[in-house]
């Protein structure tokens, strides 16, 4: 299904290079209610169960890439994507009418429905050519959906009067988890296809030190913290006039490794370090040598814990209740204004790319967020990081010592054998 069919009035903004968010905002306000569509196709797909994957499955499946395996992966994706999107659509359809007609949320809804329509019509993949055709469609879809997160968060902030904060947060959590899941399997398959098609590829098992698609079996905590730290320090260098960027010290079980989707880890650690650096710079304005950020890596038999301790003064108690929520309480207006300044994502990658930043094979939405101006406080970093951390059966907790600093604890399961933490419609309805 072509993106550029002229018959859909609300799509004109996609004909050009992605404009700034402000312009997209103006166009989309003309949209009122999403289109009504017959429910039978959706009903069918919502009935299907979701088949979650674990990191180990993702890795070991793609480790020895033969044509058969690739085709098999293609068909798994072909079935999973529309199933997972169907569950999301049904979830959205059950939200209050006033919420779904919010311009930003209805934009997201339309986007999802379009994707559902195009995915469910994909034919059975039998040959490599079929696979290539499917991959093209998936890839376009991934690019188109890059703006979903800021849109959804903006819509949620605007609707804070229409639904309870808890219900809202639960909805956003489910949506983002599901979104991660679709992108993981889609990006994994695209990566595998790329590997298979690359010159010199032969179907022998890749080493444990390589990427298999997006999964790195041996993420080394120390390397990642160091790289993300250096990147965050660079981005924040001029954040506060007259303030020096604090050092980041890493100690503990520095050789610890675990399997992970690298881009997820880089995002989460990047957000935590960035928060710490910015807090310290604000708190120690004018100091020659602000106190360093201390990172501790602790390895236990089944998990790795990364503790990030800063002396940035702690979290003001008036925002503490809203820390993990997408509703920001007293800071909602500020956050809305900042979100309005997030440029559409494809353009940003080129505009803001700072040399030497962490390398990700594909322009992922996470990567784009990492490049944002430190003065843009979106209020999403912590709730998003928590969703990513918990997605692979880990966790994220914060302890604030008001007046002193913050300790963040990121727990990562080492085994990679836990399935994705997803919520299907069946489990929501069963409650």
């Amino acid at each position: 299904m072509s993106l550029h069919s002229g018959s859909r009035p609300f799509l004109p903004e996609f004909r050009h290079a992605a404009p700034t968010f402000q312009r997209a905002l103006a166009t989309s306000r003309q949209l009122q209610a999403p289109r009504w569509r017959p429910a039978s196709a959706l009903d069918q797909w919502v009935e299907r169960p979701i088949r979650p994957m674990s990191l180990r499955q993702l890795f070991f499946f793609g480790r020895t890439l033969t044509e058969d395996r690739l085709i098999s992966s293609a068909n798994y994706v072909r079935n999973e994507l529309p199933t997972r999107i169907a569950h999301r659509l049904r979830d959205m359809q059950k939200l209050p009418y006033a919420v779904v007609t919010n311009p930003h949320l209805s934009y997201v809804y339309e986007l999802y429905y379009k994707a559902f329509e195009s995915f469910r019509k994909l034919p059975n993949v039998k040959t490599l050519e079929d696979n290539d055709a499917m991959c093209k469609i998936i890839s376009e879809n991934l690019k188109e959906h890059l703006s979903v997160i800021p849109r959804m968060v903006t819509g949620v902030l605007e609707c804070h009067n229409l639904m309870s904060a808890d219900d809202m947060d639960a909805f956003v959590n489910r949506s983002l988890r599901a979104r991660i899941s679709r992108r993981v399997i889609a990006e994994q398959h695209l990566a595998l296809t790329e590997t298979y098609n690359s010159p010199g590829h032969s179907p022998h098992p890749s080493s444990e030190h390589d990427f298999v698609g997006e999964v790195l079996l041996r993420c080394n905590a120390q390397d990642i913290v160091r790289d993300c730290g250096q990147f965050a320090q660079r981005v924040c260098r001029d954040y506060v006039q007259g303030s020096k960027v604090p050092e980041i010290n890493i100690r503990g079980h520095v050789t610890a490794t675990f399997p992970y989707v690298l881009s997820h880890l880089e995002y989460t650690i990047g957000e935590l370090l960035r928060n710490s650096i910015q807090a310290v710079m604000e708190h120690y304005k004018g100091w020659d040598q602000p106190p360093p950020i201390e990172v501790l890596i602790c390895e236990a038999p089944s998990q790795v814990v990364i503790r990030i301790s800063d002396q940035g003064g702690g979290i003001p108690r008036d925002i503490l209740p809203y820390l993990w929520s997408f509703n920001k309480g007293p800071r909602s207006q500020e956050r809305l204004a900042s979100l309005g300044q997030v440029p559409a994502l494809a353009a940003t990658m080129q505009e803001l790319k700072i040399p030497g930043g962490p390398d990700t094979p594909r322009g992922s939405s996470l990567n784009q967020l990492s490049f944002r101006d430190p003065k843009l406080r979106l209020g999403m970093g912590l709730p998003m990081s928590k969703i990513y951390a918990e997605y692979w059966a880990g966790g994220l907790e914060l302890h604030s010592l008001e007046g002193y600093g913050v300790d963040a604890f990121l727990q990562i399961s080492k085994l990679g054998n836990q399935n994705e933490q997803l919520t299907s419609r069946a489990s929501i309805d069963a409650v």
Binding site: C298, R307, L401, Y404
Partner: protein, 414 residues
């Protein structure tokens, strides 16, 4: 077993159904700063009398709702009878107001006896529930105890405050000391760092005796921070937390690594508010003619004081960081329960051994009682939460544990 007390069931029901208003700090300090005048003492006595009977009646009702076989246990039964007895002692007093000083003295003596009788409630209840573990689920025990222990904190606070105010107002006391800081059991300039140092010494002594080594504590952050709080509560909590840190450190062989204690004071809780409180209290002129209005107004007004003192936000946070290897994942879910799931018969027989000094500390030197029964953490949390604070435990298995104790200064009290 029938109770020996003379209080009737109707009376208990009547008292238990009285509306209970939440206790506030203004209530506790509202009678003034010692030495109190006779009128103020009478006011304090009557205030205490207005609160205690209903609270005791409530506890009796909750105990009665436990399964018969549990309350029939001799230990539980003993506690049940203690409550009945205490309520029957109070009955003659609460039938009418206390108007004379002789009555006040008799009342205060009755209070003292009440406090004394109920001193060992916790270890006795603990032993009783242990013996009854076949007849009641850990979840039910936890639910009962969580409520009971919190209610007990409040009841004892009311009683002990009156006792303390009375003692501090006695002519002998008033003559030779003028306490600038204390209002009954509340210390308005309590410095947590001082309590940490004394706990360090106390627990350290026992470690030296038992293990031959003595871990150190390094303090940093706002070490001089002070606030208004109840010293005995804070001592209990900090002793428990330091005991845990010391033991873990020693048993993992890391006694050379000091335990790190960090103090954080929220920026808008300045010492000047405490100074204001002190200024309101005792001046050279008003030593014997204590002015109530300023104090009450200060505690109850919300303008000009800003958020912190009247808001339910923490004002001091203490982080205790050790290298004791952390808490094993299988034990972690149980640290806040009253240890019934992890206790076994072998430990029960060993529980009476007097040799485990560390276990005994938190029971105020009564070694045969709650040794090993794991009440320390849940009880500490009850104390911390009573004034709107909290305790959080973050374990990094394979490295150590971080404990975060946040405490409110002056705030509303449950």
């Amino acid at each position: 077993m029938p109770s020996a007390a003379t209080i009737s069931d109707e009376e208990i029901s009547r008292l238990a159904s009285l509306p209970r208003k939440p206790l506030t700090l203004a209530d506790l300090v509202g009678h003034g700063k010692p030495p109190l005048s006779n009128d103020a003492l009478l006011s304090s006595a009557n205030f205490t009398l207005s609160l205690l009977p209903a609270r005791l009646a409530h506890r009796i009702q909750k105990l009665r709702n436990l399964p018969f076989i549990v309350v029939a246990n001799p230990n539980i039964n003993r506690i049940y009878n203690n409550y009945l007895h205490s309520l029957s002692i109070l009955e003659p007093f609460y039938q009418s107001k206390i108007v004379s000083m002789e009555e006040e003295v008799r009342f205060t003596e009755a209070m003292a006896e009440l406090v004394q009788t109920h001193t060992n409630t916790i270890p006795i209840l603990a032993q009783g529930f242990l013996e009854c573990r076949k007849y009641i689920t850990p979840a039910d025990i936890t639910r009962f105890l969580d409520q009971h222990l919190r209610a007990r904190i409040g009841t004892r606070l009311i009683a002990e405050q009156h006792l303390a105010l009375h003692m501090a107002s006695a002519p002998e006391t008033a003559e030779h000391e003028l306490d600038m800081h204390n209002i009954g059991v509340i210390d308005t300039s309590l410095q947590p760092a001082k309590i940490i140092r004394s706990c360090e010494a106390f627990v350290g002594d026992i470690c030296e005796l038992k293990y031959g080594v003595r871990p150190r504590i390094d303090m940093n952050g706002s070490v001089k921070a002070m606030f208004a709080h109840i010293p005995v509560h804070l001592e209990y909590i900090l002793t428990e937390l330091i005991k845990n840190a010391f033991r873990a450190t020693i048993e993992s062989g890391n006694e050379t690594h000091p335990i790190e204690v960090t103090f954080a004071a929220a920026p808008d809780v300045p010492l000047s508010k405490l100074d204001a409180l002190k200024r309101l209290s005792v001046t050279d002129e008003s030593v014997l003619d204590f002015s109530q209005e300023g104090l009450i107004e200060y505690c109850s007004s919300s303008e000009g004081l800003g958020g912190p003192l009247n808001s339910s936000a923490p004002s001091i946070t203490i982080r205790i960081r050790d290298r004791g290897g952390g808490i094993p994942p299988e034990v972690l879910p149980n640290i806040w329960s009253y240890s019934f799931t992890t206790f076994n018969a072998e430990q029960a027989t060993n529980a009476n051994s007097a040799s485990d000094g560390l276990q005994a500390i938190t029971n105020g030197g009564n070694p045969s009682s709650i040794a090993g029964l794991g009440y320390g953490l849940p009880l500490s949390r009850a104390y911390a939460e009573y004034f709107g604070g909290s305790i959080a435990v973050q374990s990094m298995y394979g490295w150590g544990t971080d404990v975060y104790l946040s405490l409110q200064g002056i705030a509303k009290v449950v």
